[in-house]
Amino acid sequence: MRRALLFLAGCLFLATASRAQNATLQGRVLDARTGEPLPGANVVIPALTRGAATDVDGLYRIEDLPAGTYEVVARFIGYREGRIVVTLQPGATVTQDFALEEDLLQLDEVVVTGQGTSIARRKLATDVAVLTAREIEEAPVLSVDQLLQGRVAGATIRLQSAQPGQAALIDFRGITSVIGSQTPVIYIDGIRVDTELGTSFSLGGELTSALAELITSDIERIEITRGGAASTLYGSDAASGVIQIFTKRGQAGRSTVTIRTELGFDQPETRFLKDTGFSFPQTREDPNDPNYGKTRFIRDNFLKNGFYQNYYVGFSGGSPTFTYNVSGRLQNDTGVQPENENTLYALRANLQAQLRPELEVSFSGSYIRSQFQRLFNGQSIYDPLTTFEVGDALFFSGAETFEEALRIFLLPDVDEGVHRFTAGSTIRFTPSPLFSNKLTVGVDMRANEQRVFLPIEFEPVSGNRGELSRYNRDFSVVTLEYVGTINYPQMGPVTSTFTFGVQGFREDESIITATGTTFALPGTKDLDEAATVTAEETRTQIFNGGIFFQEQLSFFDRLFLEAGLRLDGNSAFGKDVGLQTYPKIGLSYNLHDEPFWRESIGRYISVLKLRAAYGETGKFPSPYARDVTFQATPFRGESAPRFDNPGNPELKPERTATLEAGFDALLFQNRLSLNATFYRARTSDALLYVPEQPVTGKGTQLRNVGVIENVGVELAAEIYVFNRRDLQWSIGLTYHGFRNRMVDMGGAPPFAIFEPWQRVEEGHPVGEWYVTVPIDTNGDGLPDDSEFQFIGKTPYPTKTGSISTSLSLFDNRLQFYALADWATGSLVADYGSAWASFNGIERTVFPTRYDLEGNEIGKFRYREAFIALLKNGDYLKIRELSLRYSLPRTLLRNLPVQRASVTFSVRNVYTFAKQDLVDPELAGWAAPGDLQLGGVQSITLSPPRQFRFAVQVTL
């Protein structure tokens, strides 16, 4: 191997050293339509492996070039490649400008996710979704999951609620597993990061998440694979998809300083609140009651407008051999309900050093500090929102007035702090255009602490004299990846790229929870002053590592064949299970590049790429589920062991095999672009907790016995209504529909994911609602009993989509963007109405119950007629409106300012729903560690309407 390396390196240097007098190539790279310079574009001479990036004015310059005739390629994200042949005379300076056309289908865009190496999308057999900086930099979002909302076909994204510290449930292409979370794996600059959904006490159903504080600024692009062949090279970890986030690099040339100030306010969404808690007769009818007339108490006294501020300073620049992009950010949001303030500090650095023409070392790192406050929620009787909306706040607090009750309900403190340090380094070594190497090592370390303090004064509600609980989680993940790429020299019409690599990660997690109860004196928040202290500990470690190979063959640069294989080992696999293999194979055909096409159909369909792929991905079992274990609990001063896990030496990953086919097309003189993908994903060896015989004294064991199937279609279309230099208007549409089914449970009995209501049973969608429905047992047409029934709907939407429009005026200086997303097919449980009925408030009307003689005997209780709590989950939400104005250069000419813009945006503008008792876009309750399907909510804080005004100046 070393000999081969040396040989290749030698070839390169022989080639580059045989020069006499040096030539220089320079010029500008511009947008062909607008004439705007394109900073950050790459201009390369592939034959010489030489190149340069353009500066802020779109200028590039490559010196020290040997004379000769070369093909020069200019590339910029979102534009089609420009290729020009240039002849360089010895000693001459040649100026060559490039005017790049927008790549409406982004087929020339290079992606790396799931490919091992960089490959243009035109060659891919699968669809990799890409969000570029232009699409996301003005998005008024607080977290990465919000960024994906409505922008990626095939993604279902549902926030739990609008409290700080939380993130959404993310599902790509349906539900492929019934254990653990469906959250995709996320990499930032090649570093695998923590995405755990439950990093705190639940406090009523809502959990904080490691996704919440992930970066939202400095993002250059996001690549998304939704499982299947596109994710195969990630092996036992990729069944839920892979998201790669790339941060901005500095550009050679003048240094820039970017300052951004964003201010705004959040207005609470109140349409799903009824203030029904105050329909108790005494608050309505007695004018002498101190609470008389307070029928809008939640809206008037509890919710408020939140204030938001965000300050960003970024320094970027560099020389041809060293670039940097360093930034700092400070964000504060006071929240729309009390005790919901969130403060975040973030520092980032992205450094690249071109040590030698063939050797580049880059570093990417960030430190994030996030601190926020929360309230109890959902199922907790300490939740002020639920208690005031559907409960009896006066009764629970023992107070006379609502104001006093609210003061008592706000006594608990729930504070959480997160420290997160993510850093990694990548070495790229390209000894020859034929051979390149990349080595990435990185780590993501996250530590958070949640402290829940119920003061002594809260005793009327809590029933105890003070309680302090803390939840400490320490997590680290180390990533190591090596990728080698061999581009074989072209043989006739055939080119070949072979990629191979090693990839592994190791995760260590430690969770310690401790609770102290009963304090003598107020004021203390020290655990060790409590009368009793109890503590628990959970630790897990997991290693996953594998090697992969991929071969890509290109015929006539229009027909592409790829085949790959990943071999994986994992510390969670059973002792009798060896390496797991995940194959993939795919084909793509750029029909529009055929000569016959251009002359005939090409006038109507200028681009048509067909693609088909088969690929397998895995999901590894929980750590230690393979072992036979005992678990001891303390009991009366002794450590008392009992049987724990029965053990399974044959435990292996779930395997999702996806067959997909689709096309990308550009129609009607570039007026319409279309992407479509059909997929069928079959998860075999699905992991289920299979019960042991109770006579053995053992509980359940994770076994590979199930089969789950998801079949669906993803569509994306863009209509270019106007595409002129001074006026561009486009409309975008996405759609995803899927059907999910638990095909086989391998003898494991049906079970419930959430209470009895979300059930997993053969022949039904995972988690289909299984609820009590009134029935008529004696045929008199009147319901007299109730029974559990499947009702054919799921708690998660089965069809999702979005509509967006983008309008650009005055040479691109004024830009307007609007985004709406929608979802249908789900029913959501309005548990707030269950609490209400429990407290004697009729928020939902339950059906009348009759006896066998046909006499009315009152209403069904909610447990007997749960179906009445299920509400239509369809919604359409106007998610974002933004208006951005870039100041013309003429105005800035005499100022030390290169660019300046102002942006006004609104997020969560308006929700169209078919009912107004429960916000259908929220996921509501979740339970740590298990599959999260969402769909059950108490009274839940809806995302507020966020108004933002931002000024950005680049010096």
Partner: protein, 504 residues
């Protein structure tokens, strides 16, 4: 020029090459564990770890003690609901099915979790003891006879409670159901191996006496009058006030009935109004549950005396039991239970209420306490039966009084369901997972004797609405619909004479 370029190049390649080789060596090399990212450590005790324990029997024994406590709590909660002692208010146990004995199905035993399920916990106790006795002890040279005697006691108690409360259960993986009579024989076999040692149960109780008390109980259940009397007599001779009560732990395994009696917002366990004065016997998390006590020995001796036709001796044993019960400790307890039924109507909760045990029976006072309020509750035993009642009764009436005393003195100790003759089915999960146990086999159906009334009638009383909307008492006379003690005396007779044992 060439050399100038190639030399450092070569050095870089050599460096990177060596570094990579070193790294790979470090990662996968045998001697470099500190760099091995693949090593993971299970923080729980694995089988391999367990096999390295120096004294595995001593290590497992606390596990048996804890599991016994879990099983005892679970058996008390569920079996007391099935009887006339308690009815269910609310939904904390998946509905009210346990109040309707004939409707209980294997799936209802699945509703109980690994923490609240009697079947599950008794089988786990049995399986853990099997593991200790059959697999661990033979290889543990340091295991003492006292430790093994204690293990046999717990397995014997598992068999005893399975034999008293279930029709038939498998006792090994893939096993066929073993009928109750054989389960009781197995109990006797194990309990006899716990005799004659100086071992002590936690809290210093004599293991020997606890085992003898359990043997008296097992022989009674099998209808063996003479040995039942003999073991009971031995316990009383050794300690006339003998008491073994299982303690609990506030921070881990607490008293399971306490949760449903006291702790939960909906106090699911609502007693039959005539037993109100005994409730809640367990007033905090750690309250011990009596497992064996001298009162029960006296009542067993009374039962054997009645079986032998000696009413005078029986009366003396019953009076001794009453006197002993009266000498047991009581506690003051602030009870916040508003005594609500499933329709949120108050159940009897005023001390002015008088109760008839059935229509036509005399009204008795002093059985209901004022709640919510401060109440005095017995912690071990109490009875409403007086010496005069005992002296005045004979024949069936005396048997009825014996059942009433057993019901009151052994309240919340999981004896009533066995006295009523009701037996539970196995869990559905057992049927679904065991290839040698099919739906319809012995043990898969609840057993309810014909004399048990339909539906939940054992739990009912009249009138249902006792208070007006302002909480004023509308009537102070409450009549229980059926006196189950009379029914038992008339229809079943004595347990020791009519053990109603499937498989016997």
């Amino acid at each position: 020029m060439e050399n100038y370029l190639v030399k450092p190049m070569r050095r870089v390649i050599t460096l990177i090459g060596s570094a990579t080789c070193l790294l790979l060596l470090g990662l996968y090399g045998a001697g470099c564990d500190f760099l091995d990212p693949t090593r993971v450590e299970n923080p729980r005790t694995t089988l391999e770890d367990f096999q390295k324990a120096p004294e595995p029997v001593a290590a497992l024994l606390p596990g048996l003690r804890a599991q016994f406590a879990r099983a005892l709590g679970a058996v008390v909660v569920i079996t007391e609901f099935v009887t006339d002692n308690f009815s269910i208010n609310g939904t904390g146990l998946g509905g009210t099915v346990y109040d309707f004995p004939r409707d209980i199905k294997p799936v209802d035993m699945d509703r109980t979790s690994r923490f609240t399920g009697p079947y599950w916990n008794l089988q786990e106790l049995r399986a853990l003891a099997d593991f200790l006795i059959n697999e661990v002890a033979p290889n543990d040279e340091r295991a003492t006879p006292e430790q093994l005697a204690e293990a046999h006691y717990y397995r014997g108690m598992a068999y005893l409670m399975l034999g008293e409360n279930f029709v038939a259960v498998p006792v090994e993986k893939d096993g066929s159901p073993v009928p109750a009579a054989q389960l009781l024989e197995r109990a006797i076999n194990d309990l006899e191996q716990a005799l004659g040692t100086s071992a002590q149960l936690p809290d210093g109780v004599s293991l020997d006496l606890a085992a003898r008390a359990a043997l008296a109980r097992a022989h009674r259940a099998l209808g063996h009058a003479a040995p039942a009397d003999q073991f009971a007599q031995q316990v009383l001779a050794a300690d006339p006030e003998f008491l073994f009560a299982q303690g609990f732990d506030a921070s881990s395994i607490d008293n399971a009935p306490w949760a449903y009696l006291v702790a939960r917002a909906l106090q699911e366990m609502q007693p039959l109004p005539r037993l109100d004065f005994l409730d809640p016997k367990y007033i905090d998390r750690e309250s011990p549950i009596p497992v064996a006590k001298a009162e029960e020995m006296l009542l067993i001796r009374a039962e054997v005396a009645l079986a032998n036709g000696d009413e005078t001796a029986a009366r003396n044993f019953m009076k001794a039991a009453r006197a002993l019960a009266a000498s047991r400790p009581v506690a003051e307890f602030q009870d916040d239970d508003p005594r609500l039924d499933n329709d949120l109507n108050p159940r009897p909760r005023s001390s002015s209420i008088v109760i008839a045990d059935e229509p036509g029976a005399p009204f008795r006072a002093g059985l209901v306490k004022d709640r919510p309020g401060l109440v005095t509750v017995p912690l071990v035993s109490a009875t409403s039966v007086t010496d005069a009642d005992i002296d005045a009764a004979s024949g069936t009436a005396l048997i009825r009084l014996l059942y009433l005393m057993r019901q009151e003195i052994l309240f919340l100790e999981a004896r009533r369901m066995h006295d009523l003759g009701i037996r539970l089915p196995v869990m559905l999960r057992e049927i679904n997972t065991n290839p040698n146990l099919n739906d319809g086999d012995l043990g898969t159906r609840v057993f309810v004797p014909d004399y048990i009334p339909p539906a939940n009638e054992m739990d009912l009383y009249d009138p249902l609405i006792l208070y007006d909307e302002q909480g004023n008492l509308l009537t102070n006379q409450v009549t229980i619909r059926i006196d189950m003690n009379r029914v038992l005396a008339e229809s079943r007779g004595l347990v020791v004479q009519n053990p109603l044992l499937p498989g016997q």
